[in-house]
C-alpha cells in the first residue's frame, strides 16, 4: 500500500479488509459511524485485535496483495448482491455495504471446497485468526498487558515477572484410570 495512492482508495482497501476480518471474528463497533465493523458481537473481534496491523506486515507474505484482496472482495460483493437482489448503498465499498449475514454468506462461498480461490481466502482468514487468537503481530506478554481482546477473552494466563510462563500446579496428582492390561514394562503398548 504505497503512500501516493489516493486517500479514498486507501479507505476502500482498509474498510473492505476490516469488514472481512470482522466477518471471521466479529467485534463491537468502534463508533456510531463504523461501517466496516458490523457490530455483531459486543466485544472486540479480529479488527480490534490487530488484524490490519498483522496483514500489513510483510512478514506474512500477503502485505503486497491487499489491494488485490480488497478489489476481489468488492467484485464478489457486487456479484453476490446482483445474484440475490440486494441493494448496495454507494457510501461505502460493496463488501462493506453488505449486512453481517450477507458478508457471512459470501465468505462461506469463497472458502468452500471447490472455490477456485479458496486457498487465498483461507490464507487471509488465517491471519485474521492469528491476530485474534495469538496476537502474532506483537509480543504475547505486551498484548496481554494491553488487554488484547482475543487473548483476554481466551483467558490466556499472564507470564511471571521475568516474562516467562510457569505453572506451579499442573496435575490432579493421582491415578485416574486403570492402565491398559497389555502395557509393557517400558510403558508402551504391546
Amino acid at each position: 500500500m504505497s503512500a501516493q495512492l489516493p486517500a479514498d482508495h486507501e479507505t476502500t482497501v482498509v474498510t473492505t479488509l476490516e469488514a472481512f476480518a470482522d466477518t471471521i471474528i466479529p467485534g463491537a463497533k468502534r463508533s456510531g459511524q463504523d461501517r466496516a465493523v458490523a457490530g455483531a458481537s459486543p466485544t472486540g473481534g479480529a479488527v480490534a485485535a490487530g488484524a490490519m496491523e498483522l496483514i500489513r506486515w510483510d512478514a506474512t507474505g500477503i502485505s503486497q496483495s491487499l489491494d488485490d484482496y480488497a478489489r476481489a472482495l468488492n467484485d464478489h460483493a457486487r456479484e453476490h448482491a446482483g445474484q440475490h437482489g440486494l441493494g448496495l448503498d454507494g457510501d461505502v465499498p460493496p463488501f462493506v455495504a453488505l449486512s453481517f449475514e450477507q458478508r457471512t454468506d459470501l465468505v462461506r462461498v469463497l472458502t468452500a471446497p471447490g472455490h477456485p480461490d479458496k486457498s487465498l481466502w483461507v490464507l487471509l482468514s488465517l491471519f485474521c485468526y492469528m491476530a485474534y487468537d495469538s496476537a502474532a503481530h506483537t509480543s504475547t506478554a505486551a498484548a496481554l498487558a494491553a488487554g488484547h481482546p482475543g487473548l483476554t477473552s481466551m483467558r490466556l494466563a499472564r507470564p511471571g515477572a521475568d516474562g516467562l510462563w510457569r505453572f506451579s500446579s499442573w496435575s490432579y496428582g493421582r491415578q485416574l484410570a486403570d492402565l491398559h492390561p497389555r502395557t509393557t514394562d517400558t510403558g508402551s503398548p504391546e
Binding site: 485468526y129 492469528m130 487468537d133 506478554a141 516467562l164 492390561p181 510403558g187 503398548p189
Partner: protein, 545 residues
C-alpha cells in the same frame, strides 16, 4: 572443481534420522558434515512468544498441500526440538499391516521383536521417562478420568522429558527454555560434534548429482537467517555417502529434483505418503458436569498447560481387530495460532468462523483436544518439486505451499469416523463435553507426523528403499527419517523413526567402508553406556556391520 568441499558422509537434516546416523558415523571415525535448512538455537533463544519472528515461527514449518498440510520442525535438532516428546514404541500388529498394497508393507526382516533391541538403544541414548500420574497434566488426568468413566483404560505416555526440570511452562512447541525436553541437542548432536561432525544451519539442500570421483555432489542454498524466502548464495559438497533425513515432507522432494542428474528414481519416491492417520477433535468441557460426574475441578488456567500428550487411550490397539479399525486417542495440548481456526463449534451453527466460533474461543480454557492416530491408506503423492526447498515460501518463516496431494480413501475416512465416534462416546457421556472434529475443508487433513514418502520394504514396486534404507538404484544414498517408515503407526512415531535410524547405521558404515572411508561400527550410546550396544550386537552382522 578443486574448490568443492569434500567429506566422507554428508547428512541432510539434523532431526532424529540425521542426528543418530551422524553421531555413529562420526564416532566411528568418518568425516561427517550435516546440512540443516533451519536455524541453530540454544535454550535461551526459545521465546515464550507467539509473535511472528519469535522462535515459535523460526523453528517450525507449516506446509499447506492439497488435502493434507504438514507441520514439522525446521531447526537444528529437527522435530525433537518442537515435538511433545512422546516416545511410545509401535504396537506389534503395526508391523504386519498390509494396507493398500495388500501385502505386508514392512520388510520381512523387521517386526516388533527384531526392532525392540533398537528401541532399547534409543532409550539408552535419549532419557525417556515412564511418566507417573503425578506428572500427568490436568487435561491428561481429565482424559484418563473420562476414559475410566466410559469403561476404558488410559495410560501415561512415555516421554523424553526430565520431569524434575519441567516448569510446565506451556511453550513446549516453541523449544524448551529449561532443557527439560530431552531433544537431540542434549544427546546425539553434542556427541556427534565431540567426534568432529560439523553442523551447518541455514543450508537448504536442493538436489544431489554424481561427483566426478564416483561419489555424490550435494547442492545447497544458503537461507537468510530471518527471512527464509531469501537465499544468499549456494554451494556444493562432495561426499562418498549421503544420508537423507530432511523429513518426510522434504526428502522425497530433494530426490525428485535430483532425478535429472542421477537418473530415474524408484517409483515409490514421493508416493505412499502417510499422515500417520492423524486428526484432531476438540471437546469443550462442561465444568459442572465434570465436577458432578468425574469429581474433578477445572482450574481456569489448568487446561492451557502445554505438556503434550500425557495420557493416551490404547484400547483399540488390538491386533485381533481388522486393519483400519485400530487407533489410539491421546490428550493433546494444541496452542493457538496453529490450528484454532480449524476447531468447529457444535450446535446449530457449525462454522469455523463467525459468532458461534468466537463464542467457542471464549471457552478456550475448557478445551480438551484429542489427537487420533488411525491407520490411513498411504494415499499421499507429491507433485513436481517447487523452485527450491519443499514449498513455495509465503511468509518470512513457517508458512509455505507444498506439492503434496492427499485424497483420503474410504478406508481412511471410515477409520477417522470410527475414532470420532469413540471420542464422542467417551467425552459426551453424561454431558461431560461437546465434541467436534476439526474441519478438513480449509487446509485438508493436518499431520504433525509425516511418514512413508520414501519407504523401506521388500517390494521394489512399492518401496523406494531396501530393508537397509539404501535408495534402490542409487547405491550410497540412504534415507533414515520418517519417510522411511512404511505406514501409519497408530502411535507417535519419533521412537520408531529413531530405532530405524539406529538399525540403519551398520549398512551405512559398510557402504562408507566400501568407498574407502575408515570408519567402524560400534559406538556406545552418546553418554558412553553400552548395554544397548550389547543388545543389538547379534543383529548387526545381518545388517552389514
Amino acid at each position: 572443481m578443486n574448490s568443492v568441499e569434500r567429506t566422507d558422509v554428508l547428512v541432510v537434516g539434523t532431526g532424529f534420522g540425521g542426528a543418530i546416523t551422524a553421531y555413529h558415523l562420526a564416532a566411528g571415525g568418518a568425516r561427517v558434515v550435516m546440512l540443516e535448512r533451519g536455524p541453530w538455537l540454544t535454550a535461551d533463544e526459545y521465546d515464550h512468544d507467539f509473535k511472528l519472528g519469535s522462535s515459535y515461527t523460526r523453528i517450525f514449518d507449516f506446509t499447506v498441500g492439497d488435502g493434507m498440510s504438514v507441520l514439522g520442525g525446521n531447526c537444528v535438532g529437527g522435530g525433537s526440538v518442537v515435538y511433545f516428546a512422546a516416545m511410545p514404541r509401535a504396537p506389534r500388529f503395526v508391523f504386519e499391516r498390509r494396507g493398500s498394497v495388500n501385502r505386508r508393507m514392512w520388510p520381512s526382516s523387521i517386526d516388533r521383536d527384531t526392532l525392540d533391541p533398537w528401541y532399547d538403544r534409543v532409550a539408552e541414548s535419549i532419557a525417556i521417562t515412564r511418566q507417573g500420574w503425578e506428572d500427568v497434566s490436568y487435561s491428561g488426568g481429565l482424559w484418563a478420568a473420562a476414559c475410566r468413566h466410559a469403561g476404558r483404560t488410559a495410560n501415561p505416555v512415555p516421554a523424553a522429558v526430565d520431569t524434575a526440570a519441567c516448569t510446565n511452562c506451556n511453550w513446549m512447541m516453541a523449544g524448551c527454555r529449561f532443557d527439560a525436553k530431552q531433544s537431540l541437542l542434549l544427546n546425539y548432536l553434542p556427541a556427534a560434534l565431540a567426534h568432529g561432525a560439523r553442523i551447518r544451519p541455514l543450508h537448504e539442500v536442493q538436489s544431489i548429482a554424481k561427483s566426478p570421483d564416483g561419489g555424490y555432489r550435494v547442492h545447497y542454498q544458503l537461507v537468510d537467517a530471518e527471512d527464509y524466502r531469501i537465499t544468499a548464495g549456494e554451494g556444493s559438497i562432495d561426499a562418498k555417502v549421503v544420508v537423507l533425513a530432511a523429513g518426510a515432507a522434504a526428502t522425497p522432494v530433494i530426490l525428485q529434483r535430483s532425478a535429472a542428474a542421477l537418473g530415474p528414481m524408484p517409483h515409490a519416491v514421493g508416493r505412499y505418503f502417510s499422515g500417520n492417520g492423524e486428526r484432531l477433535n476438540t471437546a469443550v468441557l462442561n465444568e459442572e458436569r465434570v465436577r458432578e460426574v468425574l469429581g474433578l475441578e477445572l482450574d481456569p488456567a489448568a487446561f492451557q498447560i502445554g505438556k503434550g500428550p500425557t495420557v493416551a487411550n490404547w484400547d483399540r490397539l488390538d491386533g485381533s481387530l481388522p486393519e483400519y479399525t485400530r487407533f489410539s486417542l491421546e490428550q493433546l495440548y494444541f496452542p493457538p495460532g496453529l490450528g484454532t481456526i480449524l476447531a468447529m463449534p457444535g450446535g446449530r451453527d457449525p462454522r469455523w468462523f463467525g459468532l458461534s466460533k468466537k463464542e467457542m474461543l471464549s471457552h478456550w480454557q475448557k478445551w480438551l483436544i484429542i489427537f487420533q492416530m488411525i491407520e490411513d491408506d498411504n494415499e499421499g503423492v507429491f507433485g513436481p518439486p517447487p523452485a527450491r526447498g519443499n514449498a513455495d515460501r509465503l511468509s518470512q518463516q513457517m508458512l509455505g505451499l507444498g506439492t503434496l496431494s492427499y485424497k483420503p480413501t474410504l478406508n481412511t475416512q471410515a477409520a477417522w469416523a470410527m475414532a470420532d465416534a469413540e471420542c464422542k462416546d467417551i467425552l459426551e457421556r453424561d454431558g461431560l463435553a461437546t465434541v467436534t472434529p476439526w474441519t478438513n475443508d480449509l487446509v485438508g487433513a493436518y499431520t504433525v507426523h509425516p511418514l512413508a514418502s520414501c519407504r523401506i520394504g521388500d517390494d521394489p514396486r512399492t518401496s523406494a528403499l531396501d530393508d537397509r534404507h539404501e535408495l534402490r538404484g542409487h547405491p550410497g544414498i540412504f534415507v533414515t527419517d520418517g519417510s522411511a517408515v512404511p505406514a501409519a503407526l497408530t502411535v507417535n512415531p519419533a521412537m520408531t523413526i529413531s530405532a530405524l535410524a539406529e538399525r540403519a547405521v551398520p549398512a551405512i558404515v559398510r557402504a562408507a567402508r566400501e568407498r574407502g572411508v575408515e570408519v567402524a561400527y560400534g559406538a556406545p550410546a552418546p553418554d558412553g553406556s553400552t548395554s544397548g550396544r550389547r543388545g543389538t550386537a547379534p543383529l548387526v552382522p545381518a545388517l552389514g556391520g
